[in-house]
């Protein structure tokens, strides 16, 4: 019945998760039911989806019915937010990460970055039009910020939107857009004013409009998630699709990043935990030089070092989540947390691969896939370099 490696006891995914002072019965129920959903609806198909390079649309509908897509979003638009605190969000990230296929959650949860700007600063009419079908899993919405000319320096983006009567005319291009091939809409950062952050707006662009071209991009990892370059050639967008006020889009983008970074940190930490689970199971079975791998001091220390870093990341994660749930926006710590989590992931993916040996190099295992997902975690949503720089600035350096 279980699609995963049989737990070997003390070092399985659950036993490795330190008890949380912030999680109670509701979190445990959500974890249990979500795990059933993941094991029944997602896990058996991962290899097929990875090969196909795209997630079938009925998976979104199933996840919508189950409540996964609406999790944390307002009930008024078909979501479920009562009792869904930051720690429920961590449970969601962890259980999806346990699948060991980041591309599946990147695709399935794309609305997690595409939709919030609309709900945070969009008009009532736009919220009512877009959010319900997205939360039902009937259509997808991407976030398009990065351009071929660069992603780190968001304020320097080049795509232009000119106001002409009751429409905007958009010209330019976007790069690395998750869900870009399959989403109906993209929450798109465009330049409506002068240079710098003060000239940036957010525009909801229907990707089926005339003048939009999409090109698929092949990637190192995250294969279940389609990624695209988007080209806008005199694309006409109704003026009511402006999200928030003109030239006030930058704040909407920044608000989004904080939530995204917390989620990515939770996912990266849990993926690192998957690496330990797999490595520990293998180390306790595999014998070399007359004893178990786990009995060689070098290997024992590798596993202990992985646990050490994952537990430190988990404690930092929960502390940041607690601060956010108290109403704070600890930007420096959210940035450093993301770095902490992705460096932990990088370390654990490497060490688990060494412990698995040649088996780690064969396609289809969780560690092999996670190894190929390290860079997108360390670069996407704010690279490690940019995160440290942001933190240093926030710290007043």
């Amino acid at each position: 019945m279980n699609a995963f490696a049989k737990p070997t006891g003390a070092l399985d995914f659950d036993a490795l998760r330190p008890p949380s002072p912030f999680m109670g019965e509701a979190h445990a129920s959500w974890r249990r039911e979500l795990r059933k959903f993941v094991e029944r609806e997602l896990a058996p198909h991962v290899n097929e989806w990875e090969k196909a390079g795209v997630l079938p649309r009925d998976v979104f509908r199933k996840a919508g019915e189950f409540g996964l897509i609406g999790a944390g979003f307002p009930e008024a638009y078909g979501g479920w937010s009562e009792g869904y605190d930051r720690f429920m969000g961590i449970v969601t990230s962890e259980e999806l990460a346990r699948l060991g296929a980041g591309g599946v959650s990147a695709a399935l949860m794309i609305h997690g970055i595409g939709l919030p700007p609309i709900l945070n600063i969009g008009s009532e009419e736009m919220k009512a039009r877009i959010a319900p079908p997205v939360l039902r899993g009937e259509m997808q919405i991407s976030l398009a910020i990065t351009e071929p000319s660069g992603g780190s320096d968001v304020a320097a983006l080049l795509t232009r939107a000119e106001r002409k009567g009751d429409r905007y005319v958009v010209n330019g291009s976007k790069m690395f857009i998750t869900g870009g091939m399959t989403s109906r809409y993209a929450t798109t950062a465009v330049r409506t004013g002068g240079p710098g952050a003060g000239g940036v707006s957010l525009l909801l662009i229907d990707l089926e409009s005339r003048g939009v071209t999409r090109t698929p991009l092949d990637k190192q990892g995250w294969w279940s998630s389609d990624t695209a370059a988007l080209y806008f050639d005199d694309v006409e967008v109704p003026a009511e699709n402006l999200i928030g006020a003109e030239n006030a889009g930058f704040i909407g983008i920044m608000m989004n990043f904080n939530g995204e970074r917390l989620g990515m940190a939770a996912g990266a930490t849990a993926s690192a935990r998957v690496c330990i689970e797999e490595a520990a199971a293998w180390a306790q079975q595999r014998r070399t030089f007359g004893k178990r791998l786990a009995d060689h001091q070098v290997i024992r220390h590798k596993i202990a070092a992985m646990v050490q870093r994952v537990n430190a990341s988990t404690a930092y994660l929960e502390h940041c989540a607690w601060r956010v749930s108290q109403g704070e926006t600890p930007v420096a710590d959210l940035s450093l947390l993301k770095v902490q989590a992705t460096e932990t992931l990088e370390f654990c993916a490497r060490e688990a691969s060494q412990i698995l040996g040649g088996a780690a190099y064969l396609q289809g295992s969780r560690v092999e896939r996670i190894y190929r997902e390290v860079r997108v975690n360390a670069i996407g949503g704010g690279s490690e370099e940019i995160m440290r720089d942001l933190a240093a600035r926030q710290l007043g350096l």
Binding site: K6, P7, G9, E25, L34, F66, G67, G70, A71, E82
Partner: protein, 260 residues
């Protein structure tokens, strides 16, 4: 019609069972506990007869056949979580009968009989057994105590007026028995595939009521009547051997295995 569904909290079915070093029982410390899978099937069956299956053409599950589902668990405080799972799946309310030690099937059946007397359900759907001690006794004992007909190891349950037809998995095939209500049904593995509770239902379940009782409230003595002498691991299976010829095989079956 009102249905009572007893649910038991057991060691999660994914976990490997380990015997305690002192051989007094199975080690449960810090291990994940879940609802007994056969009980999950029982909850699912009750819900399907309540909700029907509007998306399945010709389904024998008709909405409204069942109108209320009461989940009851006998166990420690934490068994409330098991009841919450049933409530999140779709049961209406819960009853916890709080006991902190193991309760043997006969005592469980006596408590359930008292709950049945108080609640007056038309049907009790139970798992055919719990995966911890695999007794496979409670449903049958409850039927005897109540004097109700029983349909055990059900693979299909169809309500028809004042009767219920239960298809049972028996050696060599399927047997269908028609029972007069009220009746006892115990579930087999192939009866249905239990649902996962949706997020909204998990949240709503937190507001559904759970009554907490003790065996004393029902005047039932739950003191154990059996003494566990010793619990041991099953003997390790020996690895297989390859034989070169049919002769060698026959020889081994005769002289080593002693089956010929």
């Amino acid at each position: 019609m009102k249905v009572l569904v007893p649910v038991k909290r057991v060691l999660d079915y994914n976990l490997k069972v380990k015997v305690k070093a002192d051989q007094t029982g199975v080690d449960l410390t810090n291990l994940k506990m879940s609802m007994n899978p056969f009980c999950e099937i029982a909850v699912e069956e009750a819900i399907r007869h309540k909700e029907g299956q509007p998306n399945v053409a010709g389904s024998h599950y008709k909405a409204g056949t069942v109108t209320e589902i009461v989940a009851v668990s006998i166990g420690p405080d934490q068994a409330q979580e098991t009841i919450r799972t049933a409530l999140a799946m779709g049961a209406d309310r819960g009853i916890l009968v709080k006991v902190d030690h193991e309760v043997e099937p006969l005592a469980v059946a006596k408590i359930l009989k008292a709950v049945v007397d108080a609640e007056q359900p038309q049907v009790v759907i139970l798992g055919k057994q719990a995966i911890d001690d695999d007794s496979n006794q409670t449903g049958q004992m409850l039927a005897a105590l109540l004097g109700w007909p029983q349909g055990t190891f059900a693979s299909k349950v169809e309500f028809a007026g004042s009767k219920v037809n239960v298809t049972r998995e028996v050696d060599g095939g399927l047997q269908t028995v028609a029972l007069d209500l009220p009746a006892i049904i115990t579930t087999d593995l192939r009866l249905n595939e239990p649902r996962y509770a949706s997020l909204p239902n998990i949240m709503k379940a937190k507001k559904k009521p759970i009554d907490v009782k003790t065996p004393g409230d029902f005047g039932v003595n739950v003191a154990p009547r059996l003494k566990v002498v010793k619990v041991t691991e099953p003997p390790k299976r020996q690895g297989g051997v390859k034989v070169k010829t049919v002769q060698e095989l026959v020889d081994k079956l005769k002289n080593e295995a002693g089956v010929l």
